[in-house]
């Protein structure tokens, strides 16, 4: 086994006991990146290179010198008898939606391509304070607007390590592709509608969306401010728990970061799940969508392989002692995407007004005589088409004459989505669940180019993940085997507010129960010449 294949937990132990140095670990991961990643995403890539289709392209900006200085510092501290922290020397990547001081922080957009962040996001500085070694920035959908990474202005966009003709999912697709391909053990992502969990499912890794407010958003380039949650991407549940220990907690720089003690998320990982109540809902076994051609509400079952992966997971959890509760009604699940089309667009449009070509970022090179023309040209040239789509929709549904009909109505339906969860998790309710077990996604990873451009269909990739963002509750996506095409399937656990420790405990129980399965030993295989 190579160093880059170790878990974060194992690597940190070996570094802390000085069996491996942080610099050796960094070198192993950098070699792996050089072998599998290919050219990084850029604004002006020299066109497609012959081997592009055989590479992952997770990165936008690798910063090896910065990482080496950090790794050397970890080794120095160990040599001096100091404790460099629980993530000592663990290489990790950061979705390029977080600011890291002194480095380009692009949001995958031309409009921020030349922006050098003047400060560092709290979750990144907490990872570094815990001993993590930051490798650099990984690709994403522009401003996180997408579920495939294809909308990034930085091309080539990431590919799925399990099948390089498929998308990695999104928007944290660079993060999940990197972890799946052995390019850093951990990655910091964000989840606004499923952007950690959906790509985690597509890439066969663990992804957690914490409760809204559990992790500070300071230094995160905003999309949907009432929905955005920074969260861990990791190779296994223990690593995700270690990362939660590092990033969670109150932050005086974020007034929405909950003022709540952070538990040790690794403490209960080995605890029995006997007696925990885990629900299954028929509303998560079918996809409800609106066909724009007919204008009708359609329903389709999810693929059988995905349904059986969820049922099999329920079977394993039952073997571990959990009580499985069938037939849990979640009647407002199907409104998650329509509500999202309104709420997230209003918040996105509001957040994107600051990009104007004046203070930082892209300014049109054309000579313009008046300031409004500078705004229009800079925004027209700087934003990609998916950003423009969100701005226009946000302006429309929040306009004074329509906001009661659309925006306020969507916020009230959001209340109903939240109530679905409150009822099933209530200790006095009929179901009294500790968690709901669902598929993470209605499909496995789709081919590159197949869905991109159809903004309605693309959004439905998030149907099972977005309700948690509306409700604010935590969710955890776990790898649960492969479909007939060899593509990873993800299952999701949803729990009440601040139940991350419980979800991780159940996730670890599932890992232990499936340890003997052949699929647990599969690794992505691709040319490394």
């Amino acid at each position: 086994m190579q160093i880059y294949e170790l878990s974060a937990d194992m690597l940190a132990r070996l570094i802390r006991t000085k069996e491996i140095s942080a610099v050796e670990a960094l070198d192993s991961v950098l070699e792996r990146i050089a072998a599998v990643d290919g050219q990084p995403g850029s604004l002006n890539s020299d066109g497609e290179k012959p081997d592009d289709a055989e590479k992952v392209h997770a990165f936008i900006n690798l910063t090896p010198e910065r990482a080496r200085a950090q790794a050397q510092e970890i080794d120095r501290r160990l040599a001096d008898g100091e404790d460099p922290g629980p993530l000592a020397g663990v290489p990790f990547t950061v979705k390029d939606i977080f600011c890291v001081k002194g480095t380009p922080s692009t949001a995958g957009s031309r409009i921020l391509a030349n922006f050098i962040a003047p400060y560092t996001a709290t979750p990144v500085s907490r990872m570094e304070a815990a001993g993590g070694v930051m490798l650099g920035k990984v690709n994403l959908d522009e401003f996180t607007y997408g579920s495939s990474n294809e909308s990034s202005a930085f091309q080539p966009s990431p590919r799925n390590p399990w099948n390089l003709s498929r998308v990695p999912g999104g928007s944290s697709g660079g993060s999940t592709a990197a972890v799946a391909a052995g390019e850093g053990m951990l990655s910091l992502g964000t989840d606004t509608a499923g952007s950690v969990r959906q790509p985690a499912a597509f890439c066969g890794v663990v992804g957690m969306k914490p409760t809204y407010g559990r992790v500070s958003r300071y230094g995160l380039i905003a999309f949907g401010s009432s929905l955005d949650c920074p969260g861990p991407v990791a190779g296994n549940v223990t690593d995700a728990a270690l990362m939660m220990n590092a990033i969670a907690g109150a932050d005086k720089r974020d007034g929405t970061a909950a003022n709540m003690a952070v538990p040790d998320y690794t403490k209960d990982l080995k605890k029995s799940i006997r007696g925990l109540r885990i629900g299954l809902s028929p509303d998560y076994f079918r996809i409800t969508y609106f066909d724009p051609i007919s204008g009708e509400f359609g329903q389709e079952s999810i693929p059988e392989e995905i349904e059986s992966a969820v049922l099999s997971a329920a079977g394993y959890l039952a073997q571990m002692g959990a009580d499985i509760v069938d037939g849990v009604p979640m009647p407002h699940t199907k409104y998650g995407v329509p509500v999202y089309f309104v709420v997230s667009r209003v918040e996105a449009a509001s957040n994107l007004h600051r990009y104007d070509g004046v203070k930082y970022g892209y300014r049109t090179p054309d000579r313009v005589d008046y300031l409004p023309e500078l705004y229009r040209k800079s925004r027209a040239e700087g934003f990609g088409v998916q950003s423009k789509l969100r701005i226009l929709m946000g302006m429309y549904v929040s306009a004074a004459q329509y906001s009661e009909q659309y925006y306020n109505r969507a916020l009230r339906v959001r209340t109903l989505i939240r109530k679905d969860f409150e009822q099933i998790f209530s200790p006095e309710g009929e179901h009294r669940l500790d968690a709901l077990l669902t598929p993470t996604t209605p499909t496995t990873a789709f081919p590159i180019g197949e869905v991109y451009g159809d903004s309605v269909l693309m959004q439905y990739a998030d149907q099972f993940t977005v309700p948690a963002n509306h409700a604010g509750i935590p969710g955890l996506s776990l790898p649960a085997g492969f479909d007939g095409d060899g593509l990873p399937i993800g299952v999701q656990l949803l729990g009440p507010d601040f139940s991350e420790a419980r979800l991780l405990q159940i996730g670890r129980a599932y890992e232990m129960a499936t340890e003997g399965e052949d699929w647990r030993r599969q690794r992505p295989e691709f040319k490394t010449e």
Binding site: K252, N259, P338, F341, K359, D369, K388, I391, V456, I473
Partner: protein, 111 residues
């Protein structure tokens, strides 16, 4: 904007108005794609109108209720100096002597 219809709530004129409000300029191809996608998304959004909502259903502006126990105390309203203003100004596309330079701001005479 009075020519709305069910199939195309975002008419060509309304679309142009939105583009102007959003401070954007679009190529013809972009405009065609964006208006089509907006109208497709509107069909999904309009499904929300069919949901029975009682008068008492409140809005949810964020999912998690912030109880007094978990709500962070407001920071004192104190001025904190930026440690590196020259670095911030250096990010501006055009700057001189600590000022950001922009083209003329159109103004009209007040009557």
């Amino acid at each position: 904007m009075s020519d709305q219809n069910i199939d195309q709530p975002i008419t060509s004129d309304l679309f142009k108005h939105l583009v102007a409000l959003a401070a954007l300029e679009l190529s013809e191809e972009e405009a065609e794609y964006l208006r089509r996608e907006l109208n497709n998304q509107m069909k999904a959004i309009e499904e929300l109108e069919a949901i029975p909502l009682s008068e008492e259903t409140p809005i949810t502006s964020h999912g998690v209720p912030y109880s007094p126990q978990i709500t962070p105390e407001a920071r004192p309203d104190e001025w904190i100096a930026c440690p590196n203003p020259e670095e911030i100004i250096a990010q501006a596309p055009d700057a001189k002597d600590g000022y950001v330079i922009v083209p003329d701001i159109p103004h009209t005479e007040l009557e």
